[in-house]
Structures are given as structure tokens and as C-alpha cells.
């Protein structure tokens, strides 16, 4: 079962299908609105944001999964697709932003400019800009230009983007939406476990005190 899953997840096609299918669901109201859908564009906007958060949380979980279970084939398979899934998160964020732009368009962009200055929207915009920078530096050549270390540090901004996205999502509702916990909670747990494991393994093995080794 795990071997089959691993084989399936190693395929780029599987990942493409998994990334594109939710977009079909999110964009459907625009092409076939249900008669009871009061504001199809708003439905699309919310769904795109939701998928963006899920994809971002998912791609960030790949590394801790591999660190925690290095020999697990599924984790290895997933880590082949970090770039593709990461760019997918940016694509959803951009679509979400575009839907918002259309949603506030009232013959001009006055409402847009007024709203974008509010913390709730600035936070979302911040996450989008980070994902944009990470996307344009996701090509192999960028690693050469920047140098491995600088590139790695730059791409650590993905964690900041995730924190901003979670904040933005929580702030979107009048009452705290539990989905933030479902989406970003597991990632937070994995990250804590990963940091803990990396600390333990980077310490000298127990029983080998400096006195003994000398």
C-alpha cells in the first residue's frame, strides 16, 4: 500500500492533478453558478484562499516529514515536488488576490486602495509578496546567483508567509474560524517535532562526556 502510494506520489502527473483539481472546484461557480449562490465570485474568492492555505501548509510539511521519517518512501516521494507544490501555493494566492480585485471593482479601484491599507489585507498581501519572491527565485539558476546559503535563508521566508496566511485566514471571519487550526495545526506540530529531533540528534550521544573522550 505504502509502496503503491509512494509510486503514485513520485509521479509529477499525480501532483499536477492534485494541484489543478481543486481549482476546477473553486472556479466552477463562475462558469456554472447555482441559482442559490448569492455571490459566486465571493464563493470562488474564499475557496481559492482556502486551497492556497492548504497547499502552503502541505508543502511546508514535506521537510519535517522527511526529517522525522527519513526512510519513509512517501516522504521521500513528496520531497521531489517541493518546488512544484510551492509554486502551486503562489498560483492559488495570486488567483485569490485576482478574485478579490474583481470583487471590489466598482468601476474603479478606489475601494481596493482603501481596503488594501487595512491590516487584515496587508497581512495577506505580505504573504502573497513573499510567495512571489520565492516563486521567481525557484529556478535552479537562482540558487547559483544567490549562493546556496543565501538562497536557503531567503526561502525560509516561506515560514513567515505561512504565519501571515494563517493570521490573514483567522482575521477573515468575525468569529475565529477553526479551519485555521485544522490546516496549520498539524504543520506546527510537525515543525516542533522536527526541531526537537534535530536538536537531540545534533547533541553528542549520551554517555560521551568530554571527560570520557579525552
Amino acid at each position: 500500500m505504502s509502496a503503491f502510494l509512494e509510486k503514485l506520489l513520485r509521479s509529477k502527473l499525480t501532483i499536477w492533478v492534485l494541484l489543478v483539481a481543486p481549482a476546477v472546484w473553486a472556479l466552477k461557480p463562475l462558469f456554472a453558478p447555482a441559482p442559490t449562490d448569492a455571490d459566486p465570485l465571493k464563493t470562488t474568492l474564499l475557496h481559492l484562499g482556502l486551497i492556497g492555505c492548504i497547499v502552503l501548509a502541505a508543502v511546508l510539511a514535506f521537510t519535517p516529514l522527511r526529517v522525522l521519517w527519513p526512510r519513509w518512501g512517501v516522504a521521500q516521494a513528496l520531497n521531489r515536488h517541493r518546488r512544484l507544490v510551492g509554486v502551486g501555493a503562489f498560483a492559488y494566492a495570486l488567483l485569490h488576490f485576482t478574485a478579490h480585485l474583481l470583487h471590489v471593482y466598482d468601476g474603479g479601484f478606489g475601494t481596493f486602495w482603501k481596503e488594501i491599507q487595512k491590516p487584515f489585507q496587508l497581512i495577506g498581501l505580505g504573504a502573497l509578496l513573499i510567495l512571489f519572491v520565492l516563486t521567481i527565485t525557484s529556478i535552479n539558476a537562482a540558487i547559483r546567483w544567490l549562493g546556496g546559503k543565501a538562497w536557503k535563508n531567503l526561502h525560509r521566508l516561506a515560514y513567515v508567509a505561512a504565519a501571515l496566511a494563517a493570521w490573514h485566514q483567522a482575521d477573515a471571519r468575525k468569529i475565529f474560524p477553526l479551519q485555521v487550526v485544522w490546516i496549520f495545526g498539524p504543520l506546527a506540530v510537525l515543525e516542533v517535532a522536527r526541531i526537537w529531533k534535530q536538536r537531540v540528534t545534533s547533541l553528542p550521544p549520551p554517555g560521551t562526556t568530554p571527560a570520557q573522550t579525552s
Binding site: 448569492a38 455571490d39 478606489g110 487595512k118
Partner: protein
Amino acid sequence: MHLRFPKAWELPESAATPESAYLNRRAILKTLGLGAAALALAPRGLRATTAGFPTRVNADYRDPALKPTSYELITSYNNFYEFGTGKEDPKPNANRGWKTEPWTVELTGLINNPIKIDANDLVTKMGGAEQRVYRFRCVEAWSMVIPWDGFPLSKLIKFADPKPEAKFVTFTTFNDPKSAPGQRTGALDWPYFEGLRMDEAMNDLSFIATGIYGRPIPNQNGAPLRLVVPWKYGFKYGKSIVKIDFVAKEPVNTWKAMQAREYGFYANVNPMVDHPRWSQASERVIGAGGAFGTRQKTLMFNGYEAQVAGLYRGMDLRRNY
């Protein structure tokens, strides 16, 4: 000279069904469908509190420029947190055995005529129902146009006969966690509670809705008695009212208690005063403009400036939001 001889199968323009008749056929089919649906729903519809009050259209409140939102959308896109926080939640959840008939409402507080009265008896005492078409503006920057049936709140206040000390009127929503799944969560501080200043409540526009489009107001819209104050944001419209209390001091309404920075006591529609998270300058028009929808400029006091601006003369509306 160019001569054209029509083929035998070509029909003259005059034989074509006029577009209006063609469209009308659809309307008839739709009505038939609605009729069948109404028949299926009849047991609830006929038994509903506030059923059986034929509505008289009040021509003073029928602006021909206002195009009412469809009954379907008005009754399926609702904020009624007692039945879930999603807008699609109230329609199914408020119709799973929650009883809105019979219904008793209590008039109490600083009045000469305190009474517990059946909702139907109250409507009868108020002289039955009239219909008014009002703009509806949600604080979330979307709007509808709704034909409400009901009676002016001022009639109810005169019936209650307030004492001079009564300066505010408060409206308490039902509290029944067994029937209302939302009330089993801590989403809000139940029961939902709203209030108006006495002069606001006495304004001609203030209304108690008992129906929509001439039919008893559906559960998800706040059956059987719902406050309607069209120059204010929708959250001021207390639903499924069980108690109307006349008090001396400004009450703290539910959303103000929850989030005073975002929601105030007055909640007057005001395109100049933004919500902390979004602009109130314009609004999405529900059910208009196809899939991509449309936005329109929000009007001061939701277009009722002439009727209500006087209530707030000299007040800083930025502070008293």
C-alpha cells in the same frame, strides 16, 4: 432590383412567438413549479405564525427604482448564527423541527401596558400587515432589496405605552439551544440582544417584519417577528423576538459586547466610516450582475437620509458608529 422569394418553410416574422410571451411561458412554468413547491410546503406555510394576514402594499414605501432580490436568495443567504455561521446554514438548520408557532412575545420594562401576547394576536392588534420595499445593507458590504410584510414599530410602542423614563427599546431573540445548534456553541453571547434609542424606534421607517413577499417570514429569516431598521446594518435587525424591553440606559448590544472596535450601538449605514477590515463605501448587490456580480456605491443612511438624518444632528458619526 433584388427580389427575394421565401421558401415554403420560412415563416414570416409575424408568426414568431413574441419574446415577452416566450419569456412569460417560462414564468408560468416557474410559477407552476413554485405552486407545486408551495403545495408541498403548505402544511408549514398555512400553520405558520403570521400566516393569514393578507398584506396591503404601502405605496409610500415602494420606490419603483428598487428591484427586489429574488425570494430564493433572500431566504437562502442568511446570517443567523443561532443556526450556524455559514450563510447557507440557517435555511436547513432552522427548519429541522424548530417551532416558531405558537409564539409568545413579552412587552416589559418601563411601560404602562406590560403584556405577554401571542404573535398572531399582536399582529391583529396592530391592524394586520402592510408591505414595504426596503433596501437591506449588511455590515459585510453586501446588499439586497426586500419586500417586508409587517407593521410599524411605532404602533407597537404606542400599544405598550412607555413611561417618560423609557429612553431605549431592546429586543431579545429566543434562546433554545436544543433547537438552535449555534446556541450550543460559544460563538456569541446568547441570547442575541439588540436595542434602539426611543426616537429611532419611533421613526416611521422602523418596522416589525412578519413576512416576506406576502408570505409568512421563514424561520431562517427570523420568524415570526423580526426587527427591520433599513438605515442600519443588518445585524441590528433582531430576529425571532421573544422580549421587547423598555429601559432607561443605553443597552450593550450583542456584537458591541463581542467586538466593540468593529461594531457599535448605532450601526448606521455610512459609506464614510469604514469597518476596520474593509471599506463601507460600496457594496456587492446580491443576485445582480451574473457570476462576476456587481458593486454599487453605498448611500448615506442606506438611502434614507431624508427620513433619519435629523436623529443624529450634531453627533460625531465617526465615534458613534
